[in-house]
Symmetry: D2
Subunit: 294 residues, 4 copies
Amino acid sequence: MTMTNMNQQNGVTAILLIHCADRKGIIAKVTSFLNEHNGNIIYLEQHVDKQQNVFFMRVEWQLTGFSIPKEKISTIFGEGIAAEYNMHWRLYFSDQKPRMAVFVSKMSHCLYDILSRYQAGEWQVEIPLVISNHEDLAPVAERFGIPFYLFRKNDENKTETEELELKLLQENNIDFVVLARYMQILSSGFIKAYPDRIINIHHSFLPAFPGAKPYHSAYERGVKIMGATSHYVTEQLDAGPIIAQDVTRISHTDSVNNLMRRGQDLEKIVLSRAVYAHINRKILIYNNRTIVFS
Amino acid sequence: MTMTNMNQQNGVTAILLIHCADRKGIIAKVTSFLNEHNGNIIYLEQHVDKQQNVFFMRVEWQLTGFSIPKEKISTIFGEGIAAEYNMHWRLYFSDQKPRMAVFVSKMSHCLYDILSRYQAGEWQVEIPLVISNHEDLAPVAERFGIPFYLFRKNDENKTETEELELKLLQENNIDFVVLARYMQILSSGFIKAYPDRIINIHHSFLPAFPGAKPYHSAYERGVKIMGATSHYVTEQLDAGPIIAQDVTRISHTDSVNNLMRRGQDLEKIVLSRAVYAHINRKILIYNNRTIVFS
Amino acid sequence: MTMTNMNQQNGVTAILLIHCADRKGIIAKVTSFLNEHNGNIIYLEQHVDKQQNVFFMRVEWQLTGFSIPKEKISTIFGEGIAAEYNMHWRLYFSDQKPRMAVFVSKMSHCLYDILSRYQAGEWQVEIPLVISNHEDLAPVAERFGIPFYLFRKNDENKTETEELELKLLQENNIDFVVLARYMQILSSGFIKAYPDRIINIHHSFLPAFPGAKPYHSAYERGVKIMGATSHYVTEQLDAGPIIAQDVTRISHTDSVNNLMRRGQDLEKIVLSRAVYAHINRKILIYNNRTIVFS
Amino acid sequence: MTMTNMNQQNGVTAILLIHCADRKGIIAKVTSFLNEHNGNIIYLEQHVDKQQNVFFMRVEWQLTGFSIPKEKISTIFGEGIAAEYNMHWRLYFSDQKPRMAVFVSKMSHCLYDILSRYQAGEWQVEIPLVISNHEDLAPVAERFGIPFYLFRKNDENKTETEELELKLLQENNIDFVVLARYMQILSSGFIKAYPDRIINIHHSFLPAFPGAKPYHSAYERGVKIMGATSHYVTEQLDAGPIIAQDVTRISHTDSVNNLMRRGQDLEKIVLSRAVYAHINRKILIYNNRTIVFS
């Protein structure tokens, strides 16, 4: 059964992501609210961070039969329970496909992985465009019929080029950005335009080996396991909230070239896992850490 | 902070394990019940098996401040919500340490792992005795001051010997049994005396290589990864509900001896993980599968 | 540095794969032979299976400066050392790209993974064609400019259709076949035409869950880890020599659909690892087991 | 079969560890030398670091039948091939058990793991003593009949106390030291007395989270995988050559306490793997990196 089928099976669902100071009775309150309005919960996961005393929740229910009209849920929940508990919250509907832009440079493995999942219908997402600072991957985007935009950047034109990029993203109603081995550091201004909505893949097991040439550093240090990390981009380089990580065992027999080759498999899988979690509204961010529900 | 400290910090807690047919409003009902009686929930996890339409839940709350007296919770919950939803449920209290018997044969690694955790206070458990069909490990039990009982078994005396073992377990109020590389097959009668309360470690990645000599079979088959599996014992050999599994990468360079040596590390860690989950009432069993809450 | 660059750096190399009964002095003999003819060894790995008393070796050396002409190596080695030690051996040259056919059915993830690596130049291989029993993936092959051949098979036309497939493979000088989630069982006749040269991906951790619907079986059995296995195809279903395996941790929260979705990542990565090892002549087969050098 | 049995089976073996600048013909030279003196090689592994142009080799052969007397091998090899190729090399014999000292503080899990392996005969080693800066683990050592020495250290008496420790190590002919969660930084003088012969376990995936409180740091950073690292101690804290690493997946549900509890399993297994490799002379060190043969 594909994701599309599953969606059809459950009909349209609403997804509520919540966090707030932990207090007695929150779960009872939220679930009773859904219950009273005849909402059939198909997924509920909650977490309490006891060190910070914060409550986190993701609840998903079917709209069919729910007695509050879709367009009024936000107001009723927001002015009621959310206000009472001083919640940070977001409401999504499963029939709204988020729109994603992919930024690339010269390496194709992550882009191929993303576009082949997209083409196979694995993700409930729209990808209206690919942006690059090099022309190398134009043929790849073309192969999948995705518009490709080239923005050559250098130190002198960075600010104005990023403005053009942001304009293009806004024209295309882009919800979030995926840096699929994009080898440029985004300015603070760009990052602020998409807070918690730019996903990067870094080719090391962060916080080990941030910055440039992590495979060379891993080789030099002689680690016995290497990794890849997908995280939200913040202004501090390679220090944003981690979404997904994976590792693989290496040894003295692996040259730097071999680490690069083997690392590409980690990179593309880890990035795609992070994108999947983001698309499916599985992620909450608090204090530079993520809660990724299952 | 040790587990003991954590226990003291939260005071005595009650743990409720529930499963029943899935219906709207169960979570709201249970959490409202605890809330109304001023129960501070410190842990809640639930799962819905949509294929079988079964609801599972584990909820843990502090007894301090809870308005129902400890000795009445069972009756009030049982005759109220549990009856209404036709629940299968169990109630535990964190100040009741389960009592565990360890069965061993000749290999010491799992026994050492268990007893060293016990001695270090890692587990909230009592281990009143070790039982074996060989005398080899008597000195190990002695080292930790645990009584060691030798029951030599053979095909002729199996039934009567098992009866003596069961009598000893009952005299010691044993709650559950851990087979720590016990190389004897228990009879159906013995298993029925401890349903879902005998934990075994099998030295393969089940269902691959059940039965005798799994390391030899793994070598013969040329697998590239080997594993260990901890499961509840049922009458069908090596086919009970799986609690925990782990694996490690192997290669053509590993001889059978090497698989055995390396496998021992998997065995002891996987068995101890399963025992930890059992002691902490994290496990629900349904249809020969486990739900192991985090 | 890409694989192509590495190849250029070392120039053309010769690769010798050997196995024979273990005897004293084989390594000295082979390495002295290469040394005497001024062969610069860039890679040597050997293994002795002590249980079966078999010696295995892979040695790779630069042809530049080697005093035996490329076309005579085979004769001189074969009539000399190989005859003396009664070796099974194969000689390859790095400038001969093996020719690979890909068989697919309806699922695209493995095909995309293979073709994107091929297009990116990651593999020293030629892929002249894709064969399928369904038309679904024709557009994928087309996207990469690879000829796509449709052979609809059923129980009645299987023999004659396989003959047509074999004819096509021979016309295209195909060296080995990759079954990239090809959902048809090949006949004994077909397998005999490509002994030890058909690579399959099975979507379970073999020998667990051979045959049809392994994800359903894994779900039913309640395993806590699932896997994928790439192996050479032999006449016994899912029982051929294992080349590569990988696993991922699962839990009660994973539905069958989720196992399928997550399993696809394992499948494509494991299959591609096996293909890479095959292309690079890293694999020896003995007694239904593989030696895969690093 | 135990390690002891294996040893008896092969009789006494000699082990040669070599590294030198890479040149043509080294393998042929060494293997021919052993061959000419009728040495039956039971294990050979070599590695060439092409970036640094260094050759590494471990070769093990049976002394039974070897035509050079045991006590003359060192001279003959050293003045012959080793001198010719300007090798760094060491010669060991399997009947010499290395003598190991264990340093501990308050946590018992690594000590128990080490002593239970020792008692079970898993390692070919002697452990004449345990040293600690706290009295807490004296009963553990006592349980295994190992002498326990308490050296209370503080900033004022550090130098003289270390001198007493070194004296004790020398009196006991200690070959190498294992820091089994020893929570004191050794002085440069102590480290120099046992160069490349002090093995530490650090409770993080180095180079991530060096220094104090790595579990707290891992929690703060929100990593999705945590690890443990065993390495040789050098004067730079937590920066010595890495011998072994392992990792485990964690999530937002893991409190710092949980990381500590789960991390202990990683620590003890990783430390014991490193000790095993060291005891079996599997490790070569070059440029702050290890070659760990299989």
